[in-house]
Amino acid sequence: MNTTNLTLNLNRIKEQYPENPIEYFRDKTLCLFKACLEKYFPGVRFGIEDLLLDLGLKVITCANQSCCSGTFFQRNLITRAQFGAINERNLSEINQIADILLFSCNGCYNSLLRGREFLNTPEVRTKTQKILNRLKNQGTGKNYSGKYEISENFKLKFLHDLDFFYLIKNTLLNALKYDLKKMKVAVHYGCHYLNLSRDKDTFDEYLRPKTKLEELITLFGGNPVDYQERESCCGWGASQLVIHPKEALKITFDKLKSAENVGADFLVTPCPTCLYTLSKPEYRDKMQKWYGEKLDIPTIHLNELIAILRGCEEERCITLRRKTPRIEEIFERITQ
């Protein structure tokens, strides 16, 4: 399964620090991988950044990081070797300055794991190294040795925000000012968290039902609701929404409708790409036009929700973000 050995071993941390897993992170530098869609939802970045700072952890971003380029790979615009090289460049940069790499986007998380996975194929690895050699020869990377070599053993470990929040849930709970007041919450994991094998060590972990989001919602005083389309795709589908919008938005519609049907007050997701799809007003309008019903269920990113629950200023949570139906209502209901 996980031949890349890139993800943080959460079980080991729980064994080492059964009472207080946050202690593991005390002497570590945590880097936030910058997701492109944070531009539309700044609270996704602020939500985790502010929390980490408040917990007294060392948190940084990497100036030399580029986008993950997953969108181009998934659309056949770059090869596996080129994707691998973009990935290695980012990884070697971040590995120099951090111990843990945190992801607020399923897309980035999948990309960085996948880029590394491709290097297990000898032909791809050779081609990737050739590309990296070209960079080396051009001189931009002469500053330190090993920069453009494919590293066998990174000290850097990957950690998805959702896994992090779940790991430190007791500390997190103590940091909250408000609770969810028994609100009904539909959870959406996103395909590249739900269906991912790359970050798992065993088949058991891969196949077992995922419940971390529901558990967190319960812990926050909410009421996670089961709904028929819980595990379905948001409709983005590696840009299907751009290429075949009518078909893709049917999937989005069914998902949101199914959450509304069980009376969910809002939907929460740990992925900004899913959030973009599920919340964009233009898409809601199109769904109404094509499928005859206006859906107004608010949707929110887990990091934004945690920021609201912690009592952060509205600007650090949702003010600056792309508008979603009734999003302020959720803010007001929680903070009143």
């Binding site: 531009k39 971003t61 100036a63 380029s69 659309r75 056949n76 395909c191 290429i243």
Partner: protein
């Protein structure tokens, strides 16, 4: 229907794909159970059918490259998770088939890719897909590296095609000028 008879059956196509991406060798384990189709978002809204795609590949039927079906895959990896066999990487097979389709000229035409022009351009000029990212920008000399990595990639072709398209728009009197 493009059903092939027994006499047309051969391994050539399968072997070509395995040559290109070794992981594709595992699709031979497919037992046609259809779990992948039952749980597939694309199958709910289009004619995309993983079981058919795999059976065509195993029969040596290259018509799969011409069908528009493969372009409906959501790459959600659900099929990979529900597949009862080990290590059949369907999403990677689809990406591989799309690549072959592209090479043969059956892939999306420029028009289908126009939404990628701006993203490609921004990525190659700034290192990010969307404008004005939060926080600091990638230094210009590091952006150069991305250009070097993407040499000869389709991402550059999309970019050039957009320029050609703008020119041809200017030259064409039929199209309204913006």
């Amino acid at each position: 229907m493009s059903e092939k008879s027994d006499s047309d059956w051969n391994w050539d196509f399968y072997e070509e794909l395995v040559d290109d991406v070794e992981a594709n060798k595992n699709i031979i384990q497919c037992i046609s159970c259809g779990k992948c189709v039952g749980d597939c978002p694309a199958s709910k809204v289009s004619n995309f059918n993983v079981r058919k795609v795999i059976s065509k590949v195993l029969r040596g039927d290259k018509s799969v490259l011409r069908d528009s079906d493969i372009w409906y895959c959501y790459l959600c990896e659900r099929c990979k998770r529900v597949c009862p066999k080990e290590n059949i990487n369907i999403p990677l097979l689809i990406i591989n088939l799309r690549n072959e389709s592209f090479k043969k000229g059956y892939g999306p035409k420029y028009n289908d890719l126009r939404k990628y022009v701006e993203m490609s351009e921004r990525f190659l000029k700034t290192g990010v897909v969307l404008d004005e990212p939060l926080g600091e920008k990638l230094p210009p000399d590091r952006v150069e590296e991305l250009n070097e990595i993407c040499n000869f990639a389709r991402i550059k072709y999309v970019f050039k095609a957009s320029k050609m398209n703008k020119k041809s728009k200017k030259n064409s009197k039929k199209l309204p000028q913006k």
